[in-house]
Each structure stands twice: as structure tokens, then as C-alpha cells.
Symmetry: C2
Subunit: 157 residues, 2 copies
DNA sequence: TATTGTTATACTCTATAACTATA
DNA sequence: TATAGTTATAGAGTATAACAATA
């Protein structure tokens, strides 16, 4: 029964300006709590931090990236990425090699072990979160997908 | 024009099971990046961390809470909340008092300065995020609101 | 004994500053 | 000189363990 609902908005309808601060506040709060919960709930059967797994995921998609590109993508400073890459290299998940055209660069690529870890981990690492989503209806899931896309865009803008 | 869209789902339509892991993964990634971006973009004119502001916000809504209740609400361990409350108390944003019926408890309440800070901060602290939202259309804003609500529920479950 | 909160301590993640190697 | 990355160091935020006070 949609009789009480506002009519569907055209796709380009601007948001009501008065709602924006409220949504911003709600979103910020929920992101902070969600992040903490995700950090707490992550699967303990590999020793990679969430940040390291994100790096590995980027390399899974891109095969080889410079350390600087990884740092920019993950929005961390280069020293932080150096640490993550060190850790991943020690574990055999990635390898470094020197850039060919520019020998200052460090090209990072994923190993077979890294690839296997990503595949295996993608099956299990979101298990907790996926479990929290199973009871959602299709509209709610769609809203999450839309929100994730918007947040991704905002966070990397 | 909705001719190409699937018919509106009944509210209880279950989500497609195959989409869940994908949404979980997208959501997790975007939450992590968003949180880092929010931490970087916060307004520098007060010295309160994001966590401390969340505590102050809870006290703004609830007037007086035990330290344990605050810790549970923010999903941190009691020692972490002790630290945050110490910091807020030193700044004059909150006051402690001993529980009356149970004298082990610490009741934390917000001061006038704390209230003013919350009000002032709510106008400015989400300014960056709100600015990122102004170009969204009504559907996207609604999706964010729905997502925030779901994340809040999941994070505090 | 169990619970509420605090103190002491350590760990993780991130940052800035100073440095090396290369462009 | 400028840039890519590393090393050294520090800070923020969180946790666990041991403790004190109270129930």
C-alpha cells in the first residue's frame, strides 16, 4: 500500500536541503560504529589486518601497482603503505620489484599465495557481515549497495 | 519512467542470496575508507576526537549515563571509556558523580559547556560530509539514510 | 564472590620529519 | 631541485591484566 507515500521522485530530484545535515550526522555516526564492529568481528584465521587485506584486494584486481599508487588508493601516507607492504611481503603475499623506467618506484604485485588468500578470504572474511544482511529485504540491500557506492565515491574524492 | 525497472518489491521480499556477499564486501570496504576520510576531514577548531564527540552526543540525548553504559553504547572496553571521560571532564564538557543506589557506578552527565559544544559542533562538524551530499538526489539521500539506520542496527547488535 | 570502574601497560595503525636513491 | 620510497620516531586510540571499591 503506497497511498501514504510521496510519489516516486524523478531520478534527478534534488534532496531536501534541510535533510542533509541530519543524514550527514546519522551517516557519520553509523560509519564510525560500523567500522569498529567490523574490526572486532573479523575472522581470526589469517593474520592480515583489514588494511592489508584491502591492499591485497587492490593488487588482486590490478596485478601490479606502485607503492605510491597503493598509498593514494588507500588514502594513507607512503610510510604507512611501506609498512603494510613489508608485512605482506614477509608473509609471502606480495613481491616488490624495482621500477624499470623509473628506478625510484617500487612495483608491488600479488603472489599466488596472495591470490589464494584473497579468494579464500572473500568467502569467509565477510561472513559475519553477510550474516547480518541475510534478513534484509531487497530494498534494504539495494539501499546498502547504493550507499556503499556513494561512500566509496565520497571517500576517494 | 519506470518501465524498465522491476516492479516494486513487497516490503518483505527477501534479498537475492547471491548478492549478499558482494554487498557485504562493498559495504565493508566503503565503510573503512569513509571512516578514514571522516577522521581526516574533521573540523580542527575543537580538540575533541570523533570518539569523544560521540560520547558527548550520547550524553546530550540522555543527560546522565553510567560509564559502563557509555562503554557498551560506543562498543569500547571500560578502560577506553574511562580515558575518554577523563579527557572530557578535564575539558569541562562533562562531570562525574558517584551513583546513589550503587556507589560503584560512575554517573556521567553533560555540562552547559558540553551542550553548547554539541550544538555548535553539530552545525559545523558534519559540514564537510554534508557538502559531499548536496549534489545527491532524493533517492540517493534516502538510500544513505536507510543504510545508516541498518548499519547502526548491525553495529550495535 | 561478582561487578563497576581505574591503573598500568602494550599493541596497532597512522602520521610527520629526516633521509637515500634516482630523476 | 624534485620525487619515490624508507627509516626513525611519536601520537591517538584501543585492548588485556591486575587492582580497588562496592554489592
Amino acid at each position: 500500500m503506497l497511498t501514504d507515500m510521496p510519489t516516486a521522485q524523478p531520478v534527478s530530484a534534488p534532496a531536501a536541503a534541510s535533510d542533509i545535515p541530519e543524514v550527514a550526522s546519522e551517516l557519520r555516526t553509523s560509519v564510525m560504529r560500523m567500522r569498529r564492529r567490523l574490526a572486532n568481528e573479523r575472522h581470526p584465521d589469517n593474520d592480515l589486518s583489514l588494511g592489508s587485506m584491502a591492499v591485497l584486494g587492490a593488487l588482486y584486481a590490478n596485478d601490479e601497482m606502485t607503492l605510491g599508487a597503493l598509498a593514494a588508493r588507500e588514502r594513507v601516507q607512503p610510510p604507512s603503505m611501506t609498512r603494510m607492504v613489508n608485512f605482506l611481503e614477509e608473509g609471502g603475499y606480495v613481491v616488490r620489484r624495482q621500477g624499470e623506467t623509473d628506478r625510484r618506484q617500487v612495483l608491488v604485485s600479488i603472489t599466488d599465495k596472495g591470490r589464494r588468500t584473497v579468494r579464500k578470504d572473500r568467502l569467509s572474511r565477510d561472513a559475519w557481515l553477510a550474516q547480518q544482511l541475510v534478513d534484509l529485504d531487497a530494498d534494504e540491500l539495494a539501499a546498502l549497495r547504493t550507499a556503499a557506492s556513494i561512500m566509496e565515491r565520497i571517500a576517494t574524492s
